[in-house]
Symmetry: C2
């Protein structure tokens, strides 16, 4: 922390010495420490050693700061995701794309909160960026033979499923991770739940429903379903 204090009194900063970008960076640092839910403007200001009210000069409401963070988050995620690649099959690409998406959000709760969970508006630029990503995927699928509508829906379904598993995994990790294993034994009683008891005993499944295996499984069922769809799309064209 830079020392800019004299006798505990803040030295007044010169105009222009606080860039909005600095505030956003500090907000990310604090959010990573305290979580988005516990992010406080006061802590952001403390992190930069500026007055809280200075933050409010640049972002009139906390919500505005969060929106700016969301925009950065959307950009960051978009850059981490692979671009459509015609060198591999559409199926291999989608597998790679959504596996990567899951990994990105799983390893960064702040990004998941800002982009996937929190109720907020994004800037027009961010929304634009998002849809441009979708456009590229749809184009890839169309060139692979899907009808445009099916290409759109295929991508939407995978996005929705991946979002579901990210949130499931996150809630379970944060809430119960410490207890689920010990619970697993007392939770599933053989009398009223013979099927689940058997599955748990033989270690065939994880109770979380959001493990790597679960994701791989769900993804491949969806992709196989879409392969069937592709056949009928192609049939229709050749008729």
């Amino acid at each position: 922390m830079t020392v800019t204090r004299v006798d505990g009194v803040r030295k007044r900063r010169e105009r222009g010495s606080i860039a909005p970008e600095d505030i956003i960076d500090a907000a990310f640092a604090v959010a990573e420490r305290d979580s988005i839910d516990n992010l406080s403007v006061q802590e952001v200001a403390k992190h930069l050693d500026i007055a809280v009210t200075s933050v409010f000069w640049h972002f009139r409401k906390k919500e505005n700061l969060l929106r700016a963070m969301s925009d950065e988050a959307i950009q960051a995620v978009q850059q981490l995701l692979p671009s459509p690649n015609t060198a591999i099959s559409w199926r291999a690409f989608l597998e790679e794309y959504y596996t990567k998406m899951r990994e990105v959000y799983r390893t960064n709760d702040v990004l998941a909160d800002l982009v996937l969970i929190r109720l907020s508006e994004y800037s027009l630029a961010s929304t634009h960026l998002t849809y441009q990503g979708v456009e590229k995927i749809v184009a890839l699928l169309v060139s692979a033979g899907f009808s445009p509508v099916n290409a759109w829906r295929l991508n939407g379904t995978l996005l929705t499923y991946t979002r579901g598993i990210i949130i499931s995994e996150r809630t379970q990790r944060i809430q119960q991770v410490a207890t689920i294993d010990e619970r697993q034994s007392t939770l599933i009683v053989p009398q009223s739940m013979p099927q689940l008891f058997e599955l748990v005993q033989t270690n065939s499944v994880s109770l979380s429903m959001a493990s790597d295996d679960d994701f791989t499984f769900g993804l491949s069922v969806l992709l196989s379903g879409f392969e069937q769809l592709l056949k009928s799309d192609q049939q229709r064209v050749s008729d």
Copy 2:
């Protein structure tokens, strides 16, 4: 609001006159008005015309009150969902079950927040109730010919997908509902997004990716994929 005040001073309540259940009910009423995120213990107390500190006597922390609400929410949802029904096909049942689930959460943000989104622990009893519901579905699927592991995964995949669409729908409804239609025209520009532009122009799709059509589509792709799986499960048995 019951009048229990004399000259603006609260009349002291007799011991035992505040039931925990009353506080929970009031909390639901306030949450439905203000949303879970904006639920304040002060407002709950005001709603019952009791002292804030009285709430804290019954629930030592706000988190405890939220947990009690979550438990009630889980019970409420479970009662609204249909029970496994052997009179119809497994596919028809799952379609009905998850369509209903989507509807329940969609029409009640508080339930969705408490059960699906918020990071919290549930009581052992609630978790038990949830897994008992899963057990019944798994048993139904096993009796339809699925292997236990596939039955579990099939259900888990549908649950995850449904959760994803509920959250997608909710975030989009709350954040952009007013703007998305007017945005739709300026957002999708034909130059950089010819595919999406065409789809939007012809009204073939909704940008939300969480419409009724989207859900029906995703659900049926998953169910068809599982039908394929059933065939191979049955094949294995007859071998």
